[in-house]
């Protein structure tokens, strides 16, 4: 029997007992449907994270901090040469890290692969105000050249420009007194800053863009480099030089085209000098790991359903083998090899798996589309751009193939029984 005939026979055999095949297929459909939805949720959320990554930080950029001392055996010994900085940690706990000094920055610049090092300036603004209106509290975010903002309108703050430019989050536009996002672009806003001596001063900046709401940086105003430097200069008035020149972290730029190994080598070199380097991918990676773990658990439930369906296949095919004992005996008497008989029945199982997974995946995609539409207008309306259930062809293909694989495994038990059948025993009728 050639391959085409084998497949054709397997398909027509599985359709011979329609009710039984349909029931088995339903069991697989349930599993495939669940698996499609759960993995779709994983794909959707991860894709959303990927699109927002660009606004968290640029590629080819690494945030460097000094390595925290191991504090498992009591408090850290005081080092008079270093400056300790309080860094916000989890609620109720502040971490003290040693600050990065200009000397450290020079040292980091010497590491091979480092293109440039900039101290990241922690800037605070007391308020933001427009045209004498209400003053609103404002968090100042950092903008690293190369990072891209999710803009609702306007342009990104120009880091090369000497003018003071700022991007406002869209949630600030109306409270500040603008009629629309477009209206805000081009106007001048005032940022209130208090320096170390307690004196309040105001810095003027031009609004060049409005950022869309996303998972991240939705409530931070984003200044350009010139404005950041100015704000830092203003707020540092009255500080000792050592305090002014102490930074919680520095930003290292490296070749964007670097491979993972090169990045790892760079991190290792930094670690030797006593610094920790974290790329955006590392930060996002932690986020994604959690989502992947949740999706994995959900997928686990779907796979349990599929394993149960697998036993359904075993049962169906065992019945089929039983019913077709004489047909198998006849085929073997007529010279069909055991291998081909095995192939015939395992292909039948694979076909049942294909039917079930195909229907299940299609239903899952339909349901996913419906869920997206419903949620986009309801529960998730506050997160524009989030498609909760997304499908990529590769993972859908993997689901179908994996289920066909499970079906094949389930089919081996009945197929082996059929292949080993003794033709004489099967044809005995005396």
């Amino acid at each position: 029997m050639n391959g085409v005939d084998l497949v054709r026979s397997a398909v027509s055999n599985s359709l011979r007992s329609k009710t039984r095949t349909a029931l088995t297929v339903i069991a697989i459909v349930i599993g495939a449907f669940t698996l499609t939805l759960t993995s779709g949720v994983g794909t959707g959320i991860n894709a959303y994270i990927d699109t927002t990554v660009a606004s968290i930080g640029a590629s080819g950029v690494m945030t460097v901090t000094t390595t925290a001392e191991e504090t498992t055996s009591g408090p850290t010994e005081y080092n008079p040469d270093s400056t300790a900085l309080a860094v916000n940690g989890p609620p109720g706990q502040n971490n003290t890290v040693e600050a990065i000094t200009p000397a450290d920055i020079t040292e980091i610049e010497g590491v091979s692969g480092v293109l440039s090092v900039e101290a990241s300036l922690a800037v605070r603004a007391d308020y933001v105000e427009y045209n004498g209106g209400t003053q609103f509290q404002a968090t100042v975010g950092s903008f690293i050249p190369g990072m891209s903002l999710d803009l609702a309108t306007g342009a990104e703050p120009d880091s090369a420009s000497g003018d003071y430019e700022v991007a406002l989050p869209t949630s600030y536009v109306e409270p500040l007194g603008f009629s629309s996002d477009a209206d805000a672009v081009g106007s001048t806003v005032f940022l209130g800053v208090t320096d170390a001596t307690g004196a309040a001063s105001v810095v003027e900046a031009t609004v060049v863009g409005v950022t869309a709401e996303g998972l991240v940086s939705s409530t931070s105003i984003i200044p350009n480099t010139a404005l950041t430097d100015e704000l830092y200069a203003v707020q540092s008035v009255g500080l000792a030089d050592t305090a002014k020149d102490s930074y919680a972290s520095a930003v290292v730029r490296f070749d964007e085209a670097s491979s993972d190994e090169q990045v790892a080598a760079l991190k290792a070199d930094l670690a030797d000098l006593g610094f920790d380097g974290i790329t955006v991918d590392d930060q996002i990676g932690a986020f994604k790991t959690i989502i992947d773990a949740i999706v994995l658990v959900l997928n686990g439930f779907a796979i349990i359903a599929l394993v149960a369906a697998g036993f359904g296949i075993v049962n169906t095919l065992l019945m089929s083998v039983q019913e077709r004992t004489r047909e198998i005996g006849l085929m073997k008497a007529m010279g069909m090899s055991g291998g081909k008989v095995f192939g015939l029945f395992s292909l039948e199982a694979v076909f049942i798996g294909f039917l079930g997974s195909g229907i299940g995946v299609l239903l899952g995609m339909l349901a996913g589309g419906t869920i997206n539409t419903v949620l986009a207008n309801g529960l998730l309306a506050a997160l524009p751009g989030l498609t909760l259930v997304a499908f990529d062809p590769v993972s859908v293909g993997v689901i179908v193939l994996a289920i066909m694989g499970i079906a094949f495994l389930a089919g081996t038990i009945p197929a082996l029984r059929a292949a080993r059948q003794d033709p004489i025993e099967s044809l005995r009728y005396e």
């Binding site: 050639n2 007529m334 010279g335 090899s337 005396e430």
Partner: protein, 245 residues
């Protein structure tokens, strides 16, 4: 004397062991030459079906050997045995063993499908076999919709479709009334005469056996009598029996 197409050399076959041991055959020797018709006659449980299964290479003897054109079948590989059964042998069973849902043509071309012959060629040869048995108009019918006589003709068409040199017929008329049975017998003996197909018929029907060139009587696993001479070749002396009762 020509090399027999099939030969049994003092074969025994037993099933089980110890107290439950059952000897189906207890030393049988038989030469079958190309083109003859031979009836293996015996009662139920005499061992005649076992002998046919061994000659058809469906089973291996416990003792002794079966020779196919002078070669010991035990020396042939599994795939060669399969090919031999597929292309050299045709099978006609008392219970038709037709696949119920499939069309008559699909049933007839089963051996060709197993042989891996492609669709168009398969259909051509299947239709030729059906025409020979005057069933061409039933090709598209389901096998279950036919009468008993038609079914047995479909089975003969299936046995013929691979152009075999030996047809094994196990009680070919057992399920048919005498009129249709006679028609089926005529078809089988006509094939034997006109195309030189060796006919090995297992039966307990004396009338059917009487139409064969030779009759071998089996009782309790032994050949107890043989009558007639091969039509094409060889003296009766070529028939030997392991042990007379």
């Amino acid at each position: 004397m020509p090399v027999p197409i099939l030969a049994a050399r003092d074969i025994s076959k037993s099933y089980g062991r110890g107290a439950t041991r059952f000897d189906a055959l207890r030393g049988v020797s038989l030469d079958i030459v190309q083109g003859e018709s031979i009836a293996i006659v015996g009662k139920s449980g005499s061992g005649k079906s076992t002998l046919m299964h061994l000659l058809a290479l469906l089973d291996k003897p416990s003792v002794g050997s079966v020779e196919l054109s002078g070669r010991d079948a035990a020396s042939l590989s599994g795939s060669l045995l399969n090919t031999t059964r597929n292309s050299t042998f045709g099978f006609v069973f008392q219970q038709f063993f037709l696949t119920p849902g499939a069309s008559v043509l699909d049933n007839v071309t089963l051996p060709l499908r197993i042989a891996g012959i492609r669709g168009a060629e398969r259909k051509r040869r299947g239709m030729a076999a059906l025409e020979q048995l005057e069933l061409a108009d039933k090709a598209k019918n389901k096998a279950t919709d036919l009468s008993g006589g038609q079914k047995q003709r479909v089975v003969i068409a299936r046995a013929l479709v691979n152009d075999p040199s030996v047809i094994f017929a196990d009680e070919p008329t057992g399920n048919l009334d005498s009129a249709t049975g006679a028609v089926v017998e005529d078809i089988l003996f006509d094939l034997n005469r006109s195309r030189g197909i060796t006919l090995i018929i297992v039966t307990h029907d004396e009338d059917l056996a009487a139409r064969c060139d030779r009759r071998v009587y089996i009782r309790d696993g032994l050949i107890v009598d043989h009558l007639g001479t091969p039509a094409t070749a060889g003296p009766a002396a070529s028939i030997t029996s392991g042990a007379h009762a």
